[in-house]
Chain length 113, copies 2
Amino acid sequence: MPTPFEELAALDKLIHEPARLAIMTALSACSAADFTFLQQLTGLTKGNLSSHLQKLEERGLIAIEKRFIGKTPNTQASLTEQGRTAIEQHWQSLDRLRKNAQLIGRLEPQIEL
Amino acid sequence: MPTPFEELAALDKLIHEPARLAIMTALSACSAADFTFLQQLTGLTKGNLSSHLQKLEERGLIAIEKRFIGKTPNTQASLTEQGRTAIEQHWQSLDRLRKNAQLIGRLEPQIEL
């Protein structure tokens, strides 16, 4: 069984990238969020946010819906089931890492050569 | 004040990279750890671990000490003060992000257009 550190070192870099981690985590908290909201939340430029959303969509982690509200175009993003599982597992890996780091601290006397 | 999501999107990528996050988090749990221990812990190859440690050292986040134990060469890594502050702040940013994501979930009714 891989140690949590091995697990972390092999983490999914597509999700782990800071901006995408912020986007996925925000989406994990709501059923859907629209583009402008995500942009305000993450502080990303339109171009950056679009390219991150595209990468996540290509990997099947999010779904993008384009619609009109009245005459105004509106883009909404939401996690797919795969995406929701992936972000939950990602945070669980990070949690395991941290808990294990504390364990190492207690083992320390044996580590010092 | 930047939202935690903005904070996360601007996270220090040098630390956030999964393998280096694993190394820094492991080192945050002990005063020092030797190369072989870090290699077992992270599952990284010698070459990968060396290059990650070098990048962290160049940024002043860790200190590397090379010595002999008897006739055997031994390399030890430890966090510098700057490194210890940086990894603590990194995890704090991640915590804030998560807490805020839960808040968003409660705001959700207002978000849906």
